[in-house]
């Protein structure tokens, strides 16, 4: 019943999508649109045996079931749209594209490009798509390494990470999306340079932050719910991940640019100096963790010892304060990625147009103005690239550093998403839970990357004319 209702809603979504995205749609197009949407929506319930709509499931389970159905419908419609756009002449047909780039090779047959692509495809399937699909499958199971059986638990591994109230789960993202659209509306309806536009810009920033706040509110703080399900306290993990990743990226990139800008100036022995700056990058995250542990450890630490014996200052144990523990992780991880950022910024600085800087110099621009108005925009493609790579690093490669420096101390305040995945999934052997958290991290990274590509399209300048 609930499943059928979902299909009916999906059909309406199909009609709505066609109405929004095509000019002068025919009745037939509406029919096809709703059929495609129904098809897309039924994939996940069929694969999972409609488990989320079973009798004993909680409303949050049903909500997740519906989200997956409508998400599937939306993806199917997006796929269908490429065909419609081609039919409507909005996009070049493949024949036209092939005509433009026609070369000898393609005339041999359709299978030739596939043959040439096959090594890559095989590697992608074996090492990427298959493990990814297995992770999705695992995330719906209660299972352990080496256990003789596993039990299908539908969305429980996800439900227990979220708050138990389905209405708030829907309301929070809607409020965040509403704020974003309202801010965008304000921006488009205000003139540049006016007070109103400045207010609108500020509102856009707040609206973007509201997404993070909404997610924070959606994750569970832990505890038992009315259905007797013990929730995982995932809210602190989410917060730690945000604080530590943002810290690492900010420290790594601002520090990297600052050092690169200084090192770029002509200095004696500059090349040796610049090479040395890049060295921390060659160190593995584990070693970075050990190094900083050796520096700040309260018993055996060098820094602690020096401060105590030379200056008589009693340095507190960094692992017993949340702020110190998180800062030390940011420092160690940021320091490790610093060399990488310096490398790219050094290279990027060489491509900053000298003529423009000279012209600005003649016009009387100060050093700071030259830096912000010419150098920074010229570096924007590199900054964008580094933002993506640094975020990926901050999300995925900090496990070893954290494990050596704090092991999540104090009481989980430095336990970020990836640390939690390995702790739960590998160390405790709860594979299903670990997989569910991986899926969550996977979605987060995809969402952030998509958002970056969208927003940076407006701000990144690739130079040229």
């Amino acid at each position: 019943m609930l499943f059928i209702a979902g299909l009916v809603i999906a059909a309406f979504i199909g009609v709505f999508y066609v109405w929004r995205n095509t000019t002068n749609p025919s009745i037939r197009r509406y029919g096809v649109g709703s059929a495609v949407a129904v098809l897309g929506a039924s994939v996940s319930p069929i694969v999972m045996g409609q488990c989320s709509f079973a009798e004993h499931t909680s409303s949050v389970d049903k909500l997740l079931g519906y989200s997956l159905m409508f998400g599937g419908a939306w993806l199917a419609l997006m796929g269908a749209r490429t065909f419609w756009d081609r039919a409507d002449g909005k996009e070049k047909s493949s024949a036209a594209v092939a005509g433009e780039i026609r070369t000898g090779g393609f005339r041999l047959g359709v299978w030739v490009p596939w043959l040439l692509l096959s090594p890559t495809l095989i590697i992608l399937i074996v090492f990427l798509y298959f493990p990814a699909a297995s992770t999705f499958a695992l995330s719906t199971k209660l299972t352990r390494l080496g256990a003789p059986k596993s039990i299908d638990v539908c969305f429980t591994n996800f439900t227990e990470l979220l708050i138990a109230n389905p209405f708030l789960l829907v309301a929070y993202p809607l409020i965040a999306i509403g704020l974003i659209y309202a801010a965008r509306f304000w921006v488009t309806h205000s003139l540049p340079g006016t007070l109103s536009r400045r207010g609108a810009d500020a509102a856009s920033g707040v609206a973007a932050l509201s997404v993070f706040v909404a997610l924070y509110a959606m994750f569970s703080p832990g505890g038992l719910d009315a259905n007797g399900l013990l929730h995982v306290a995932y809210r602190p993990v989410y917060l730690n991940t945000i604080i530590i990743s943002v810290g690492i990226v900010a420290f790594g990139m601002i520090g990297g640019l600052a050092v690169a800008y200084l090192a770029f100036r002509p200095i004696g022995g500059g090349s040796i100096y610049r090479t040395l700056l890049i060295w921390p990058y060659a160190i593995s995250p584990a070693v970075a963790g050990v190094l900083f542990f050796m520096i700040f450890d309260p018993t055996a630490g060098i820094f602690t010892h020096v401060m105590d014996t030379w200056f008589g200052i009693d340095v507190p144990n960094y692992r017993e304060s949340a702020i110190l523990a998180q800062s030390s992780i940011i420092l160690a991880s940021g320091w490790k990625i610093l060399g990488y950022n310096i490398l790219f910024y050094l290279a990027g600085l060489q491509s900053v147009p000298l003529e423009q800087i000279e012209a600005a110099l003649i016009d009387g621009a100060s050093t700071w103005q030259r830096f912000t108005k010419i150098v920074l925009p010229a570096l924007s493609p590199i900054t964008f690239f580094l933002l993506v790579t640094n975020l990926t690093y901050a999300f995925f490669e900090v496990y070893a550093t954290i494990d050596f420096m704090t092991k999540g101390a104090p009481a989980g305040k430095t336990s970020v998403a990836i640390y939690e995945i390995i702790r739960v999934g590998v160390n405790n052997g709860e594979l299903g839970r670990g997989a569910a958290q991986s899926v969550l991290l996977f979605i987060a990274v995809i969402a952030i990357t998509m958002w970056q590509f969208r927003t940076s399209g407006e701000r990144v300048s690739y130079g040229g004319s």
């Binding site: 352990r144 990058y281 070693v287 018993t299």
Partner: protein
């Protein structure tokens, strides 16, 4: 030109990123368990290899050898030179004495790594012969099955089948000290061969204690608190007073001392444990005392869970006067302490009758499915490994208790205990324990996860000043959920 340079740099960086990320992964897996990289070491010095390879020497030394050498893989969860080295030396000695066999020691970073690797190896059809796995996870080892549902380990008692000698090596399984034998006997069967076995003892810096006017190591919680009061009053005293790792083993020891059960069904010994008790009176009393010491500034928390190194360093650096620790490092402290180091029993709760401390450590498990020749070789090696001389040497090297009564006899005859009285404390403490389910210790499923829940809750209590009862109620719910899921998947 500059664009070309940029492109070149980008390529170099990408290649470097690819290389480093793969190596990072390697490190990360090892690091997860906090030890050295797994290394394969073929045991057997030059002699053994020559003998085994069937050269001229081999024909003279082992005329009976058909030239076929039976390999036995022995996976060990130690990676430090002393303990791994001991295993390698003994394997080499065994190989030299039995040219038909080649026991090959492989080192892993942790017990979990050994176990996970063994399960995967069984699935892929190339299992090792013997693996080294820790005491509290005995339930997990008994529950381990292959893809067809057959248990992957074979009972050592069953395999010995009453023999007193295998391949010329005397069987010592029946000489194992009672504390270890009772711990590892499940459903009436002694499954695995004990190796490293210890208990918790307290190490005392007698120089500081004497300076504070205390002549005997504190025996009870009240004694410890009183001693800390006295030490805090010293002008040039240490910054802390006492420490021990925030490891669930110490909690389990305290429950044993107070006669409290951690799991139902007699700590999982009369039947499978299906419930854990993290809110018992004994638990509350222990945590109250611990938290009190911490709040008074007497207990030094290093800020890391399961921090063996940090606590040991704090003791050796005289930042604390007392250290509750594993007896496994008795020799290490005797050698490295620059002060008068005296071992004593783990302090206990004076308000209740003392029941008993439990063992800790690990045993050697034998995998099922080997042919008779290989299995006999594995059995012979295990009994050789713990023969009286080896058991005594192992004890002297580390401080793990001599695992057999015959080993104890060798040490007594040598006069070792008169020479190093600290080494006797662990055995004495275990001998003083009553043989009850509480003091034997719990056998629980998913013990790693449950221990993790306990230590995390304690860290929260120590660092964040949360209410003990409330925090343990949450931990209790989490641990019971974890155990019930384990039982659902793996119980019978």
């Amino acid at each position: 030109m500059k664009y070309r340079l940029l492109a070149l740099l980008a390529v170099i960086a990408l290649v470097a990123a690819a290389c480093s990320s793969s190596s990072d992964d390697d490190t990360a897996t090892t690091v997860a368990s906090g030890g050295d990289t797994a290394t394969t070491v073929v045991s057997g010095g030059d002699t053994a290899t020559t003998v085994a390879s069937g050269g001229d020497t081999a024909t003279t030394v082992a005329p009976a050898a058909s030239g076929e050498v039976t390999d036995i893989d022995f996976w060990v969860a130690f990676s430090d030179e002393a303990r791994l080295g001991f295993a390698q030396d003994k394997a080499a000695a065994f190989n030299a004495a039995h040219p038909d066999y080649n026991v090959e020691v492989t080192s892993f970073a942790s017990y979990n790594d050994v176990f996970d690797a063994a399960i995967l190896a069984v699935d892929s059809g190339e299992p090792p012969g013997l693996i080294h796995f820790f005491e509290a996870a005995t339930r997990q080892a008994l529950d381990a099955v292959d893809s067809s549902g057959t248990p992957i380990f074979k009972s050592v008692t069953d395999a010995i089948a009453g023999r007193t000698e295998i391949l010329g090596e005397t069987v010592v399984l029946d000489q194992v000290v009672s504390a270890a034998r009772d711990y590892y006997t499940v459903d009436g069967s002694f499954y695995s061969m004990p190796w490293n076995t210890s208990t918790t003892v307290m190490f005392n810096n007698m120089d500081i204690l004497n300076a504070a006017g205390i002549t005997e190591p504190p025996a009870t919680w009240a004694d410890v608190t009183a001693a800390c009061d006295a030490i805090a009053a010293l002008d040039d005293g240490p910054s802390g007073c006492i420490t021990w790792p925030n490891h669930s083993w110490f909690v389990e020891q305290s429950l044993g001392q107070q006669g409290e059960l951690l799991g139902n069904n007699d700590n999982g010994r009369s039947d499978r444990a299906t419930e854990v008790f993290l809110e018992s009176d004994g638990m509350m009393a222990y945590l109250d005392w611990w938290k009190g010491l911490n709040d008074a500034g007497y207990y030094t928390y290093t800020g890391l869970q399961r921090d063996w190194d940090g606590t040991s360093n704090a003791y050796l650096a005289e930042e604390v006067a007392m250290l509750v620790y594993s007896s496994s490092d008795t020799t290490f402290f005797d050698t490295n302490a620059t002060f008068t180091n005296q071992a004593s029993f783990m302090p206990s709760n004076e308000a209740v009758d003392y029941v008993g401390n439990l063992i800790g450590g690990a045993t050697i498990w034998m995998l099922d499915g080997m042919d008779t020749t290989t299995e006999d070789g594995a059995l012979a090696f295990m009994n050789f490994f713990s023969n009286p001389e080896n058991a005594a040497a192992w004890h002297q090297l580390t401080g793990y208790i001599p695992i057999t009564t015959s080993g104890e006899d060798v040490l007594a005859a040598e006069g070792w205990y008169d020479e190093s009285p600290n080494s006797k404390v662990a055995s004495e403490q275990l001998a003083a324990a009553a043989n009850t389910p509480a003091s034997l210790g719990a056998l629980l499923g998913n013990v790693v996860g449950i221990r993790d829940i306990i230590t995390l809750a304690i860290e929260d209590i120590l660092v964040n000043d949360v209410d003990i009862a409330t925090r343990m109620a949450t931990a209790n719910a989490e641990a019971n959920k974890s155990l019930s899921e384990y039982e659902l998947l793996q119980g019978g």
